[in-house]
């Protein structure tokens, strides 16, 4: 999604035509949990989307990092984004962000969202990564 997301944001989200919603799919156990939790904890400081971008850009590092080392890696990313380290750690320790992530995943699984990426727009579901033109066609056809 990272390939087409910047264009979608520039053309349709920043212009007010589309509201973009991100819901985490937890298909890779502890790594997925901790990465999503980090994004939501960054969101507590108004930096969900910068962390979201960073996690996708550093996807190779996520795979290369042992699950037990994820908290340290996430703290490093938070520091790179200039977030409050104590607040970030407190968010992770509180477990609220993790609970939200898990609740979202559990709810959408009841609707058949078990793989990723999946997109929903204007009542249609698109499974798998798609070129920008597919999104453009759906958006231009209207609600």
């Amino acid at each position: 999604m990272l390939t087409v997301e910047p264009e979608l944001i520039a053309q349709y989200v920043a212009t007010g035509r589309v509201l973009y919603v991100f819901r985490p799919v937890l298909n890779h156990s502890e790594r997925s949990l901790r990465a999503s939790e980090a994004a939501f904890c960054a969101g507590e400081q108004g930096a969900f989307w910068p962390m979201h971008e960073r996690l996708f850009v550093r996807q190779d590092a996520l795979w290369a990092t042992a699950p037990g080392d994820f908290p340290a890696l996430m703290a490093t990313y938070a520091a790179e984004l200039g977030l409050d380290a104590d607040a970030f750690a407190a968010c992770a320790g509180a477990g609220n962000a993790l609970a939200t992530v898990q609740a979202l995943d559990a709810e959408q699984r009841t609707r058949g969202i078990t793989s990723q990426p999946i997109f929903e727009i204007a009542g249609r579901r698109i499974v798998g990564a798609q070129p920008l033109s597919v999104f453009q066609g759906l958006i231009e056809s209207g609600p």
Binding site: G16, L19, R23, P24, V25, Q116, I121
Partner: protein
Amino acid sequence: MERMRSLLLALLLLLGACAAPIAQAPTSIPTSPTVPPAATLPPPTAFPTATPAPSPSPTLEPTIEATLEPSPEPTLEPTPAPPLYKGAPEGRDAVGAYTLGDPAAELVLTDYSDFL
């Protein structure tokens, strides 16, 4: 004696002659031309016949001043603007998912993804 009477009579006549024009002067003042004729005056307005409101009871006292207190200073603080990411406002939806863009946008694109 006869002469004194003649002098008095002459004096009275003289005084009468002097006083006569002064007494007639007011009758020569013309009436005001701005007063309209009686026929053009609007009909007289009847006075209201309603019974005048009774005067307030002497036991009632105004309470407005006693109960009104000075308005408190506004305590509402301006809502902080949401953080922007690439020109779009960040937010959250009703179930806690993060959103980007105008919540009132005509279309919603939901992205279900894993970071791995």
